[in-house]
Each structure stands twice: as C-alpha cells, then as structure tokens.
Subunit: 612 residues, 2 copies
C-alpha cells in the first residue's frame, strides 16, 4: 500500500521546504495560463456551432463576435490588474468579497469558482480528447475511458507536488503557442496566395435582416455567450499570486498581460482562418483540426498541432488542479468546507482538494459522456459571476479607503469592467439556460446553503468542546468504571482478559450467553472450579443469537449505572494466517461495532495473538 | 436492516420448537426426491446429445442405455435400503465412512457430496431456466440473470425454515409427476394411433457395427455416463433420515422406493417418447419441450408441462438446500469446516450453510453462463464416488458386527451395488474427463487437504487456549497498565478522557503531535494552564502525518514496557447527523484500526456524543 503510494506520488517532503516551492513568471504562465490559452482550441468552434443554426452564411458573424470577446478580455484584464495589486495574498473573488462585501456574496463567488474549476477540468480534458480523436478516429469508441484516465493521470501528477508539475508543463505550453502562431502565419500567407474564397462573399442585405428576428438575435447572443468560454481561466492568476516569486504582485500582473495578449492573438487568428477557409463545425473533427488540415494537409505538422493541442488542454485542466485546492483550502479555513481540505499532504500539496476535484470532474465526464459541447453551456456563468463580484468588491475597497486619496480613474476602470461582466453573466445564464446553465443557477445557492450548514456544525462543535467556564480539575474526577468481559468459554484468552480487567478496576463481571440449561450448569461449574473472586453472569438466549442478549444486558446496566462509564472489555484473538479468520465467528468485531455508538460505554479490545 | 431481515425470513423461532420441525412421508418425498425426479427433465436429452455425435440413427441406443441406467437405479436403491436401516442418524456416505472406514475416505465422500450438492443447485436451476426459455424464447438474453435470481429466491425461502419449505414445495412435485405420466400416457396412445414412424426403422447391420470402432464405443459410454445424472439425488433421503417423522428409517425407505419407482417410470417413458417422435436435441428447445409439443401441440398443456418442469427443477435445487447445510454442519462439528456452519440461525435452519451453498451455486452459474450441458459433465462423478464409499462402509460395518449373525445375503446385495457403482464412477470420470470431470477430480483432493488444514488449526487453537497445567489465580495477577491518550487540542473531549484514564490507572500520559515549534509552545503553555498532574508528551511530525508519529511513539513504548499491557485510550466524538462525519478527519478510526493488530496494546475507545 505504502510502497505503491510512494511509487506514484514520491517520498514525503519536509514542511520547511514549503517556502521554496515558488514559481518563476515563465513557469507560472505555463501553470496558470494554460486554461485561458487552451480555450482557443474550442471557443471558435462553440461560436460556429451556434451560428450554423442560423445558416452557413451567418458563420462570418464569428469575426465581429470574436472582436467583442477580445474587447471583453481587455476590460477584464485591466480590472484584474487592480485586483492583483490590491489583494496580493490571493484568493480572488472569494477573498475580495469576504473582506469588502459580505459573507453570502463571498460564498456565492466561492461556489461559482468551485463549479468553474471542476468544469475547467471536464471541458479541457474532453476537448483534448476530441483533438486526439480528430487525428486518430480509431479511438472514437473510447472517448469517456480516455478522458477519465487523463483526469487520473493529472491527479497523480498533482499529488506529486507543484514544482514538478511546472517542470512537466512549461515546455508544451510554449510549443503550443508557437505552433498555433506559426499555423496562423502560414494560414494567412496561404489565403493571400489565392485561397481567399470565403470571406470574399459579399454581405447581402438578407444577412443584416437577420437581426430583425428575435430568434436569430437570441442565437447571436448565444454564440457570443459560448465564445465567452474563451475567458475562463483569466482569474486563475489572481487566485494564485502567493505562488509567484517575489515581487509576486508585479510578476503576476506581467504574467497576466502576456497571457491576455497571447490569448487574444490566437483566438482572433483561429477565428479569422476558420472564416478564410470556410470551415464548418463537424462531428468528431474539431475546427482547429480542419484548419490545420487546410494549412498543412495531413502531414507531420497536422499531427504535431493535434497532439500539442491535446497537451495544452491537458495543462488547462491542470490549472484547476493548481487553483481549486488552494481555493477550497481558504474556504475550509473559514469553516465553510471540511477542515480536511486545509491539510497539506506529505508532498506539501493539498492532497484532499486534488482528489476531491478529480472525483467531481470524473463524475461530470461520465454523466455528459465526454462531450465538450454538452459541458460548455454550464461553463462561463460561474466565471463571469465571480469576475463581477470581485470587481464590485474592489470598488467597495477603493471607496472604503477614507484616509487615502480615492483614485477615481481606477474606480472607473473597474466599474466599467463590473458592469460589462455583470451584463455578460446575465447573457450567459439566459442564453444558455435551457442547454445546461440552469444547473449552475440551481447549484450555486444549494452550495451556499451547504457552506452555511457546515459552518454551523463547526461553531456548534467549538462551543460544545470549549472549556470556557469549566474547571478541568473537577472534570477529571471520574468514579471508577464497572468492567464487563463477555466470554464464550473458560480459556486462556478469558483468564488473560480478567487479569487486565482486575488491574484497571475492582468491579469486574464476566458475562456468558447460554442456549440451554445444560450449557449454563456446565459453565457455572467450570467457573466455580477456577476459584476466582469474579462473579459470572449467565444470560439466556432463546433464539440462539449471541449479540442480542449481550446488548440487552448492557442496556439494562447502562440504565442502572447512569452517568458512569461502563467498560466492556472484548477479548479478541488474532490468527496467524489470513484465511483462519474464516474459521472464527467475528462476534467480537460485531459487538465492538454495535457498542461504539453507545453513550457511556468505553469499548476496550484486548488482543490475544495466537502463536500458530 | 433488521426490519428487512424479518420481512424476508420471518420472526426468530425458539430453540424448543426444534423437534416439531419433522416431515411426513408425503412432504419428505417432495423435499428430498425432487432432485432425482426432476432429472428426467434433462437426463434423456444429455444421452441424446452424445449419441447424435455418432449419427441420427444412433439415437435409438438411448433406449437400451435408459434400461441400463434403470437397472443401476434398482441396485443403488436396494443398497441404500440397507444404509438407511443401518445408519438411521443420517449423514450418508460421510458418516458411514467416518464410522467404519477411515478419516480420509470419509472426507473424500464429504467433498464429493458437497460438490454434487452445489452442482445440483446449478444444474437444476439452469435446466429449469432452459424449460422456461423453450416456452418463452423472448427471455433468452436473460438466461444467467434469471438463474441467479432463482437461486437467491431459493436461498430466502430456505432461510425461512424447513417446514414452510415443505408446504411451498409439496404441491408442484405431485402435479409434475402426474402431468409427466399423463403426457407419457397420451404420447403412447398417439404413437399407437399411427405416428409410430421412428422406432419402426429396422435395425440395420451397420448399426451393430458401430461397436467395432473404439471412438463410438467411447461415445456410447459417455452417453451412459451423461444419463447417469438421472441418479443424482438418490442419496438425499439417506442423508436426511433424521428429518422424517418416527419411525424415521422405515418411512425413509418407503419414500425412497416410491421415488425410485416414479423416477424409473418417467425416465423410461420420456426416453421412449423421444424415440417414438423422432426428437433430436436442439439448442434453446429442450427434449421434454419437443415431446410435449408433439403430444399436446402449443396449447395450454404444453405451457403447463413447461412451467411445472421448471418448478420441479426449482424444487430439485431445493433438495440441495435441505441436504448441504446438514452435511456441512456435521463435517464442521468434526472440526473440518468452519464452526460457524454448525450454528442454527434464528429460524432454526443452518443459515450459514444455506448462504454458503447459494454463493457457490451462483458462482458456478455465472462461470458456466447458465448452460446445463456445460455443467452436466462435472456432475455424477461425485455422486457415484460417494455411493461406492457408502456401500463399502456398510460392508465393513456388517463384517465388524462379530457378536451378531452376519447377514450374507445383505452383504452380497450391497457388494454388487458397490462394485457396479465403483465401475460407473470410473466410467463417468474417464468418459467425461475432458469435458469437465477433471475439475472434480482435481477439486476433491484439494478439498480434503483444506479440511485437514482447518482441523489442524482448530486443534492448535484448543491446545493454545487450554488451561491445562496453568494456575488461573496466578495468571490474573497483571501489573497495572500505562495509559496513553492521543489528543489534538485541549477540549472537553480531552479532559473527559483524562478523567476516565485516571480512574483506571495512576500512570497516564497525554500525547500530542505538532507540525512546527509554534504549535508545540502553544500546546505546552495551554497544558500548564490546565494544572493537571498528567504529563504531556509532544511528538514532532515533519511530514504532517498524524498517525505515523503516534505509531512510532507507541512502538518505542511497547519495546521498553515489554510484557506489560499498554492501554491507548482513543477519544472519539460522535456526530448527530450522518453527513457530519465528512467534516471530521477519521484519525481515531484509523488509529484504532492500526493498533488493533499489535500484541500488547489494549485499544479503548471513549465516546463523546455531540448534543447537536
């Protein structure tokens, strides 16, 4: 067990190594930005998938939509620059709201972020598998299995620890970015060389009339909302500031700007090429795969792009493995999630958070059968909700700082950001409500309720366990306990247990169950012969059960000795070979299990190890 | 839990009701004979399945083979009459061999009988399902599922107790016998009325020349061996004599003769009709189903026959539920199987034996995918082996009775039986060796080995637990135990536990694990403020594990306090709502689980129940 654990996740790491585990900008970009960067693999496709419902001619609207989304990205990046500078200790929307808005708002942000981290893993892994399946259609029947295995691999890598993750992940991120940019460059060159057939189609009047219909306007909004999935992950850096090398805020902001720039370039480029080559969304072949095919044919570079797309999406899922455990550990520290989530495992990572995330993501993948398109509608609502909350919090923070000069220019920047992201939140929730966003709309308040229930339990617990107003010296004066020893026969095991019992109490009783009178007489005779000063109580069992009469006797005793502890000493012998356990009835185990829940019963197990 | 148990198997029955649970001849015939009687549902088919390998013309050899098997039945019945009279206390081959031959022979018989009981359940259920599927081919995809469900139903019925079983089962047995006899009568009448086409084919010379080839001779022997499955279950009555009403031996013999007579009549009749109507074995439609179709068409009587065939086979499986638990309880009483198998459950039946049988039968059904033909080759070897052993034992018994007159006529009857069944054992093992009998040939010696290993364990145990040569009064002088209390914080739970610990020992130590120096100082300061006269031991955990440092400390203490008991008192608090357990780490449970296996550690759990 332990051997396998070590093989999989490595030797334990000493606590004092904690501070060494910090990230350079380059590594942090790989770790925290791959989510945002990788969304270029599916964001354009999600836009086209909605537009194609209007008609093939409407696909060209993807270009203005992409520009709108890039504008949104710029606004969010500028806002988040203020957030990183103002709140360098990390935690993002959750912490900002906790400090400057209120409990419920911060918990709402926390719930939204948790949902989005889980979706990041599920969507990225499913999209990565889709990239792989575009290149290798023979693997199509194993979509779900592949996705689940990838999540498990990610889990193991992350349980090994954050620095090793960075090393594993830095390289492919940069290869991906480079190869996509090369693909865009080659693509544009190819289009100029004469393949520019699609965008040349003139804008006919009927296209403009599209807006006249409510249905198509709604579909355009849905296309925009789907494209907004490109922005998920932008907040990851602001949550992860403490993981950066000093000066951590400055490094984080620089990293975020680089990320936004790369994201914008790639997203616009891919959307542009999709239109240039006249790509339409297809089942089982991704849009990026089609573009790569147009640019490079089915040669080496095509497979190279597909594989690195899959790798970057795998890294994107990894973003959540960096962010989610940190977020839940903060929420848990506040007492709104199980305390276990605050504990660093023996590799210094929040192991429980990592496992928790993996289990949730695997569940989602199985439920949605590994289909990216089915998962995307759930995405983005939570992200934009938390963007909005974070910016609202920052505005309140600026307004609160009475002593200092209020920086109105900053407030205006963040205010515009807040209003825009607020509107986008509503658009994503409404436009994708039917196709899945309702689940998120339902889940968030349920989670907030659960957070409160957990918090209530911990505060109840604290008050019940507190020594406030108690005198410990009085409390430890406990009257001696009665000891009961259930025995089945007069054997060495029984005598052994009696010896121990006599050493802890003067009030010891042996207890035996008999099925018929003959048995009783025999037991009493044998007991007399022993000549011990311990009474033997015999209990009759008309229905041949051993446990029930014992429990009934103990019940009665509990009643008469109310307020005192009763010790039940259970002799247990341990066999030498594993299969011998089938040769003994496990009454001792059962009895212990049933007594553990009683109020005033101390259950003691005294072992007797057989020599052979 | 208890509610469902009561609903399924009924209220517990008082021990004194044991003697009332006795069977009349009519009910006993239903319980113990359905195995033998029901084999007419498949025995003819198994013969034809082998003969058809020679050629369609060879099918007519089923008639002389059936006569040979009936002769064998007569011989076995006459032999077993002597066995019942000589050994009225039941147990059959196992007990006879134990008393009069030797330990290994009796264990061999026991193993053979156990295997055959399990096969009785598997074969009968699969054959019953086949009868059902012949009439309702829509159920074909659910062959295995249906078979498994039927075994579970049988298990529940038998857990309810033997008398109720008899009531449930008596009625369909008699209906089955009557309907098969009516079918045979109608069939013969129909054949005489002009449909007698098949048997009219003259015996050509080439058929006789079949015997000239070794291959066909071997196949004829295999056909005979397959048909011998008709005799399985004949011994059930001799094992179940004590369940009969007084005079039990006489009643058992009468019942057995009736059973043999009915079995012979039906088996010959069905084999005769199969030839008369020219029936050939088909996949998914049984031979009996084909005959019933020839006689009655697809009308009401056809379905009636199919359903009652299924019911009798269900009862046949039930035979094993009456015999197997009784057999294993006797073997367990001798110390060769787990003692648990000797215990009567709260409905007075050997519940563990019943469950054991069900599990084994379900495993067989799943492994062999519910195919009767795949299971039959394993069958019969064990039965004939035990027949032979039982008769050998009876002969030795007769020869041992020096004082009384030796009844040579009886010895000759039984001797002939023994020689014939011995030969048949070898024929079944050899002729069906490749198609599955080898498994039984391998399993029997393995089981005998296991029996011995179990026996060895129990006798080792007895000698280790014996008080022979020991002075109990000296043994109970045990020096006081050191008590260790692992605590995580200074809370009411901890103080509570310390109070109890002080009441059982003067040597109490509190133990806490710290991750860094600050934690240690804080804990030590708090402890001093308490002002208790108990030392606090602090243990450092560099890798943030709670369990490992605790276990290491206890290891070291175990070394220094060798020979004395160390009590580890584990405070455990119990939450009010089930989901609260996720909010606490289960260190106490884990610690207890890991300490339970240590030699000199008494593990005591002291409960602290939360009020809310």
């Amino acid at each position: 067990m332990n051997y396998w654990k070590r093989l999989l996740i490595g030797a334990p790491i000493h606590t004092k190594q904690l501070s060494e585990e910090k990230l350079t900008k380059k590594k942090a970009l790989a770790i925290f930005s791959s989510d945002a960067l990788s969304s270029v693999a599916y964001a354009t496709e999600e836009i086209l998938l909605v537009l194609v419902l209007i008609g093939t001619q409407a696909l060209m609207y993807s270009i203005p939509i992409a520009f709108a989304i890039m504008l949104l990205l710029l606004i969010v990046t500028l806002s988040y620059r203020q957030i990183i500078h103002s709140f360098p200790s990390g935690g993002g929307a959750y912490i900002v709201a906790r400090e400057h808005i209120g409990r419920n708002t911060s918990l709402t942000a926390g719930a939204a972020l948790m949902i989005d981290y889980v979706l990041t893993v599920a969507v990225s892994i499913c999209s990565g598998v889709a990239a792989l399946l575009s290149a290798f259609p023979a693997l199509l029947p194993y979509r779900v299995e592949l996705a689940v295995i990838l999540v498990i691999v990610l889990m193991i890598i992350n349980l090994r620890g954050i620095r090793e993750s960075a090393n594993i992940f830095a390289f492919p991120t940069y290869i991906f970015v480079a190869s996509i940019i090369i693909m865009i460059g080659f693509g544009i060159w190819k289009l100029q060389a004469g393949n520019w057939h699609h965008l040349a189609v003139p804008y006919h009047a009927e296209h403009f009339s599209l807006f006249s219909s409510f249905g198509t306007t709604f579909l355009l909004l849905r296309a925009f909302a789907s494209g907004c999935s490109a922005l998920t992950g932008v907040e990851a850096i602001s949550n992860g500031v403490p993981a950066f090398r000093e000066p951590s805020s400055k490094n984080a902001v620089i990293t975020m700007f680089w990320m936004s720039f790369l994201l914008g370039t790639m997203f616009l480029g891919i959307t542009f090429l999709a239109n240039g080559f006249g790509v339409e969304p297809k089942e089982n072949v991704t849009v990026v795969s089609q573009i790569a095919n147009h640019v490079f044919g089915y040669g080496f570079f095509y497979y190279f792009i597909q594989i690195f797309t899959m790798l970057i999406l795998f890294l994107a899922a990894n973003t959540a493995f960096a962010g989610f455990p940190q977020l839940v550990s903060i929420i848990a520290q506040d007492g709104y999630l199980p305390r276990n989530l605050t504990k660093r495992g023996d590799r210094l990572v929040f192991s429980n958070g990592i496992i928790f995330l993996s289990v949730l993501a695997i569940l989602l993948i199985i439920i949605f059968q590994g289909e990216t398109h089915a998962l995307v509608p759930l995405y983005a609502v939570g992200v934009f909700l938390s963007f909005t909350i974070a910016q609202y919090g920052l505005i309140k923070y600026f307004l609160e700082r009475k002593s200092q000069q209020k920086v109105w220019s900053r407030i205006i920047v963040v205010g515009i950001g807040m209003i825009i992201t607020g509107i986008v939140t509503i658009i994503t929730a409404v436009a994708k409500f039917q196709s899945g966003a309702w689940m998120v709309v339902v889940a968030i308040p349920c989670m907030v309720l659960l957070f409160h229930k957990i918090h209530r339990h911990y505060s109840d617990l604290a008050s019940q366990l507190s020594l406030q107003g108690q005198d410990p010296k009085q409390m430890v004066k406990v009257s001696p306990s009665k000891v009961i020893i259930p025995i089945s026969s007069v054997s060495r095991v029984a005598i052994n247990s009696i010896g121990y019992a006599k050493s802890i109490s003067n009030d010891v009783v042996a207890l035996t169950v008999y099925f018929d009178e003959k048995q009783k007489e025999r037991a009493e005779k044998k007991w007399k012969e022993l000549g011990l000063d311990i009474p033997l109580v015999t209990v009759h069992s008309p229905y041949r059960s051993l446990l029930m009469p014992l429990l009934q006797y103990i019940d009665a005793l509990e009643e008469s000795e109310r307020g005192k502890y009763i010790t039940v000493l259970i002799p247990q012998f341990f066999v030498k070979k594993w299969w011998h356990i089938f040769l003994h009835n496990q009454t001792a185990f059962l009895l212990r299990a049933m007594l553990l829940w009683r109020k005033d019963i101390v259950v003691s197990t005294i072992p007797y190890h057989l020599r052979k």
